[in-house]
Symmetry: C3
Subunit: 318 residues, 3 copies
């Protein structure tokens, strides 16, 4: 497996299953990689809040012996301008054309969390922030969840599926579920493209109007009925997202879409997955998430090995 130049989406990898295998080997024998990146440094830039990503990525860097600096844009610093040719007399104190190369001149790898605006579909789906760091920083970029993808989460999800699957090609169902707030499409987009790249059998089920961009879902079975979709499923992955077509809108908050015991009973004794944080008794009932088939904590635990594998391959000598 060759080195990673960036880790932006599944397209950054030659073979997602190989990267998942590396993460698994690190989990099962983490000592081998211990301190293997000593002397290298990582900067984590957060435009948005984070718990799992923030802590697991720091821990992954510690495991490899890397130094880590964490920067919260807006709290620690100031707002950045991304548009070209602007007369900067408003609220934004610095242009990305300066900020990115400056950070790149200090650190060996830069992690970026920058959620979708959910207001401007074009700039969100062009990955304006992430790509500006790729373009201007001069260093490998690690996506900590961008406007349209969350590859560290998806790599974790693949690792967790590999650990639990009992058939060669499991049936995986990505199910929309209700949520009180407007959420991005990054996690479901990313889960879909990774699962499909791994050649698993993917069904996506959602209410009408919640179809994701075909850029990410081509090859998946599209369904509008949880009853039908859950039949024979090996893994149920629950997630809310806002509409892609009616961009950033909440079209439904129908509680009937919550994942409960009755729905899980239609599956082939499926595992329950979610990326966390999860709204209990809104996305999923207590009964399901607290059941023996719930592997949400395994997914979260694997985040540190996913991050460790990505950091390792991003810092490999060519």
């Amino acid at each position: 497996m060759s080195k990673l130049n960036h880790f932006l989406s599944v397209k950054s990898t030659e073979n997602p299953l190989e990267l998942a295998d590396l993460a698994l080997s690190m989990k099962n024998n983490s000592g081998n990689f211990k301190d293997s990146r000593k002397g290298l440094s990582l900067c984590l830039i957060f435009f948005n809040s984070s718990l799992r990503t923030r802590l697991s990525t720091q821990k992954a860097a510690f495991n490899l012996g890397m130094d880590v600096a964490v920067f919260n844009v807006g709290e620690d610093g100031w707002q950045l301008e991304f548009d070209e040719g602007v007369v900067m007399n408003g609220n934004k104190a610095e242009h990305i054309k300066e900020a990115a190369p400056v950070i790149g001149s200090y650190f060996d790898i830069i992690g970026i969390r920058a959620f979708a605006s959910l207001e401007n579909k074009i700039s969100d789906y062009q990955e304006q922030v992430l790509n500006a760091f790729v373009k201007y920083s001069g260093k490998p970029i690690l996506n900590l969840e961008s406007a349209t993808t969350h590859p560290l989460q998806s790599l974790t999800d693949v690792v967790t599926i590999l650990e639990h699957k009992k058939v060669a090609r499991p049936k995986i169902v990505l199910s929309w579920a209700p949520h009180p707030r407007t959420l991005p499409q990054a996690v479901p987009n990313s889960f879909s493209e990774w699962v499909l790249a791994c050649k698993f059998d993917l069904t996506i089920v959602q209410p009408k109007g919640y179809e994701l961009s075909e850029e990410f879902t081509k090859g998946a079975t599209i369904s509008y009925s949880q009853e039908e979709a859950f039949e024979g499923a090996d893994f149920i992955y629950a997630k809310n997202w806002s509409s892609y077509t009616d961009y950033g809108k909440i079209l439904s908050s129908d509680p009937k879409w919550m994942i409960d015991r009755e729905k899980m009973d239609r599956t082939a004794n499926a595992f329950f997955m979610h990326c966390l944080p999860v709204r209990r008794n809104v996305i999923v009932s207590d009964e399901v998430i607290d059941s023996a088939k719930s592997i949400v904590l395994k997914q979260a635990e694997n985040r540190q090995y996913a991050a460790q594998a990505a950091l390792f391959k991003l810092s490999e000598m060519e």
Copy 2:
């Protein structure tokens, strides 16, 4: 001295004086323990502001060679839900039943600062937040000041008393003093139970209505007159707290309770102590805190050795 499973209160220790002796030995020859916990990691979770605890605990971990991640709940992440069975459609994005085990899956020790609400006496005195981390994280918990206790401060206080006491069993007076804001009872509760566990002679003096819970003060002499209480004292420990019985209320802001030179003159040339931060000329006069008998900075300095001893015993192999 056996290993600590958690460090929640004096009850977590078999012998508080032995732990204080360990902290003192680390202070006097810190090199012996240097880097002895290399490869281990600590996560510090702050639900509330912190200066001394934040910095001294990081420094203690550095001394032991540990890696440290710091997380400010609310700024870096989001609000957590602690109640069971809730339909989570409000402001809280994640349940402690997920957040705690996830953090526990990354780090070897978890430090928690979570002050009293001062609104709900029952959940405060049940230590809802601290105990949820104990219950769900699966890792040793280090109390960085909880709703009802602050054992790192109390251990420091015992260390500092051991360094300064001139008689085997000094007379120690814990005195209430006025303050413009509503403060928790954690520091005085904790000081009381540690001093009593060390078999020192403790008098607590406060205005009527400010009596602390007997759970922490049983064995202390209770007084309502600073004039009487200060007679013959070897140590005066000043602190404000809000009412326990009329829970979270300020019943007095009488400036006559401030510690001044005249009151200190009644003591047996007592040392002056306070946990800091302290409101000068509200809690204590400049003259007293700036005097040669003030050991508030010694207390603060000893925080790093108290934290170092606690981290060392929490990470000891069984």
Copy 3:
């Protein structure tokens, strides 16, 4: 070159060029100093936002093997009182007379960022905050930009000038430029005193009323015409600042003072410098900052070596 006791301004150094040479030698062969300060610790205290200083100083400490703790006053902790004899019953929870020695008891070097209030000229120019840490902390203080100076930036600027100058004594022009917000005089004050201490030829050009304090500019040529000042210049250093005489006021926002191509054409093919963050098309046109003669990113890159040299000399054994 003898050790630095503090790094507060050019006056903290015996010879600013020697310190710049040390930074350059670290840049060109950073391995020699690698981990040379292992076991030492640095605390960075931010009263104000920071990107470059925050990240470059952390990186410099990592290079030297130091442990680093970062503290945002107000977010992580609480407001500090600096005045003497105050009855502290307002918003400030702790006096610098406690906070500074406590931090000093944990860490080997303390970095402080504390901007000018721009309201109280006397306390700003007395460097109330910075000097309180010098007075009370008991440890070497590293100025991360204070009310009146920014020596890490100026040291970087000298390093960058040394790397680029083509004549022994280059003509350097510090030019005021417009800005929508009220900015301190720290960067131009500091740049002026460093450049003059290095015996370079300095011209300062600004609108009437924007003259800096002579404490910093004595020896510089003072001009009010960019046309005249830019003639024959080797380096143009652009910066906005608010009025020193009419303290903290914006007297002009005249866009004619922006640095553009036409003005740069009057120079001797000068390099363009700015400390960043910079407002594009307000301070400087895109055309100039994006030109081959712009060395703003070199300045920023050199920040880590300037910080590394300062930390190295602050922690030298006597």
